[in-house]
Subunit: 259 residues, 2 copies
């Protein structure tokens, strides 16, 4: 299922909090990314603060490479995008996350490595830093609250990458299978005849207990009940439970009748 | 642009870390969600630990409602989905995030409120807690590293909601405008005749400086140069800079010639 194309490199520039490096590693690992590079982190690296937030993504933390400049960090990368929340006084192509991962996939399929670059928590990347990127990525957030948490921004891009990669490497059928509704049963789904047996038992039971106000209403009330149960796609076990309820009440009624 | 349909409610159940409540508020506010409800948080609420992670999403924190049970938290909600990373020994419909937000949008358009429910950091929701949900949402993470950070999971769902809501409330044209590539210029884009003036100046300049090895090669070399510059969609200002470079070198060459 997984093709061998290069996955995007994540580059964190002048990151202030080691915790965010840890959270970033976790977010990357959730979606299969592994190459994390730091450019001039504020705190020295390796740093204990990252470990607990990584929640087990230790392999990523251990393989982090640290660089002094963005061009050094991108020595083997050919296509780069930079995340930005601010409008820039610079002439640049800008697009949304979905378009960005499609571009990255396009280069990955040519076996070209891409990078997604994220600036420091407070200020974002400088114009100087983004000038080397092929394009900017702007997430369509609320206008008055546009600054994403750093690791959450990485998660968003990693998730979009995972989706576009899955859509591309799976057949339509296989992709539908991971995204569209599935019904999980602990036991097999009931057959129509098993359900029909239950429906007739239910109808007889309700009739015996004078549930139907009039004989005329009976068929439409039963249809409503059948539709309700049919909608929930009963398993054999669930049908067994429902039949069991009827049996239990019937037993109780019999005992009462005797006493 | 923004329609008045109800946005999904976010419900955090037995959350352990107040910091995650703060990060959740920020993620929600980034994408326009505002109704955050807590069910039996481990630490008392309000809690100072949430504030700094909320990074300005104070309005959400201030309006948080706290409940003792999930049904109480959902008193005004009609459709609910629960996030889960684990497979459950329970018969449930399960789908991916994109399908989940489409279902929520469907109910929102009927003015029915939906909720997205998230369990505690360590263990997730119990089978008892998820049994009341209409469906489960499973994010297609890496199989061996499937546990998302709580606030990152909220961000992912809020982002998917924002996208489906934008796709629905904007025209196709308007949506393309926020997602597809745009070129931002600080100054207007150059006209073809302005570019043509630059190209002839460049050609003359290169000719004067014996750049072209042979006369035969000249047209194809110039075509390559023109294509390169045309691809980057030059602004008037950028074209001015390029013309300025030629002028500066010409001046320098004249001075040298004199000395």
């Amino acid at each position: 299922m997984k093709s061998n194309i290069p996955y995007p490199v994540i580059v964190l520039v002048r990151t202030q909090l080691p915790e965010n490096i840890g959270s970033t590693a976790r977010a990357m690992k959730n979606f299969g990314l592994s190459d994390l590079r730091l450019v001039s982190p504020r705190e020295s690296w390796p740093n204990k603060g990252a470990k607990s937030m990584a929640a087990g993504a230790d392999s990523i933390l251990e393989n982090i490479q640290v660089f002094e400049s963005i061009p050094e960090a991108l020595h083997d990368v050919s296509y780069t995008v930079s995340l930005t929340a601010r409008n820039r006084d610079i002439t640049k192509i800008e697009f949304g996350p979905e378009h960005a991962v499609k571009k990255i996939l396009y280069y990955s399929e040519k076996n070209e490595k891409s990078a997604i670059i994220f600036g420091p928590e407070q200020s974002g990347l400088t114009n100087d830093e983004i000038s080397i990127s092929n394009a900017l990525v702007k997430v369509p957030t609320e206008i008055n609250f546009s600054s994403l948490n750093l690791a959450q921004a990485v998660l968003l891009m990693s998730w979009e990458w995972k989706k576009v990669h899955l859509k591309n490497s799976l057949s339509e059928e296989e992709y539908k299978d991971i995204s569209d509704p599935k019904l999980y049963h602990k036991t097999p789904i009931s057959s129509v005849s098993e359900r029909d047996y239950f429906f007739s038992r239910l109808e007889e039971f309700l009739e015996m207990n004078n549930f139907f106000a009039t004989k005329e209403m009976q068929p439409s009330v039963m249809n409503n009940l059948k539709s309700m149960f049919a909608r929930s796609n009963l398993s054999q076990q669930e049908l067994g439970t429902l039949n069991g309820i009827i049996s239990a009440i019937e037993r109780k009624l019999k005992t009462k009748g005797k006493s």
